[in-house]
Amino acid sequence: MQEFKPKIVAFYCSNCASSAAEISNKLGLFLPENIKLINVPCTGRIEILHLLKAFENGADMVYVVGCQEDSCQYINGILKLKKRVAHVKNMLEQMGIEPQRLEVFSLYAGKGQDFVNIANEMLNRAKQLGPIY
């Protein structure tokens, strides 16, 4: 039996999340496979449709990494995104999809290790949940 390799989509912003990503590279930490990284100027740019489309196209797990709520470069981008994530989680539940397949994280710019840890956490969760379809 083939081991389930979850397809994961990760959105990350060009500020705190990017900095963290860079640092994780410098530290020689690497992300697990199957994670498709999508860079956005600010997580506030991510719309409900982007999140849904990722699932529609087969993503088993979708997560977003952005700034802390009080240090978003665009002031309230991450706050807006969190509201959208809550809305989509609600939709997913009504659609018969586990809302845990979608997650959002705020991290500090310097936290390279966190960037990688989050990715691993998402991978584990995806493996536990199984394929979306």
């Binding site: 489309k53 529609e56 939709m91 659609m95 979306i132």
Partner: protein, 222 residues
């Protein structure tokens, strides 16, 4: 404008249960302005339907189209060539849209994706509030430019009632007491005499109470 609210996705999915070809139709009018039924929301609903059905192991075909308005036959006509390709039509327009589609295409199974609520406007970004109840006999000028029929929970014409509570309606602290506003404004403007006038009972004939209504522009109609 007409303000509507999206139906829960669960309710919509139950409505279209069993259909495999679904056309989602949006409207660039009022529902776009209140962010529930425009092109964006059409794409969102279509995607959600595909995901939900895929989860059930079904591949459904979901078409997406947004019309200029769904309250004018000339735009409803634009569905002519594609509607027969679908088994169900989900309209995101206000209550008028799905009915216009139904009338023009009697064979079509039409479902409403929003709950139409009221005539109102934006009071802040993302928040719309009721302003007009369509009573058919507008007299806001009696009340300092505000409408107690639509905005007083009891539609009082000689308000306020004894339940006015620190500027809020007794029904809910989220509802402003419009009579508190009317009285304060008119008294401040020295218009107490107008407030003392006893407004006679309203004729509800021109409102929905009198039956479904029509408006005709004689010079334009045949």
């Amino acid at each position: 404008m007409i303000v509507a609210e999206a139906k829960p996705i669960k309710e919509i999915l139950e409505m279209i249960e069993g259909f495999n070809k679904i056309l989602v139709v949006g409207c660039k009018g009022c529902v776009t302005v209140c962010n529930v039924g425009g092109a964006k929301e059409v794409a969102i609903l279509a995607s959600a339907i595909r995901i939900a059905e895929k989860k059930k192991g079904k591949e459904v075909e979901v078409g997406e189209i947004t019309l200029e308005r769904q309250c004018d036959p000339e735009y409803i006509e634009e569905l002519k060539d594609i509607i027969q390709d679908y088994e169900a039509v989900v309209s995101l327009a206000c209550g008028v849209g799905p009915q216009f589609i139904s009338e023009r295409y009697p064979e079509a199974r039409v479902f409403p994706a929003v709950n139409t609520k009221f005539m109102g406007g934006a009071v802040e970004h993302g928040v719309w509030a009721e302003r007009c109840a369509g009573c058919g006999q507008c007299v806001i000028h009696y009340f300092g430019g505000m409408c107690p029929i639509a905005r007083c929970s009891k539609s009082l014409m000689n308000g306020p009632c004894g339940g006015s509570n620190h500027g809020k309606c007794e029904v809910s602290p989220e509802i402003d007491c419009i009579w508190d506003k009317i009285v304060r404004k008119m008294m401040a403007q020295g218009r107490l005499d107008e407030l003392l006038k006893i407004r006679p009972p309203k004729s509800w004939l021109t409102a929905r109470d009198g039956g479904p209504r029509k408006m005709v522009r004689e010079e334009l109609a045949k």
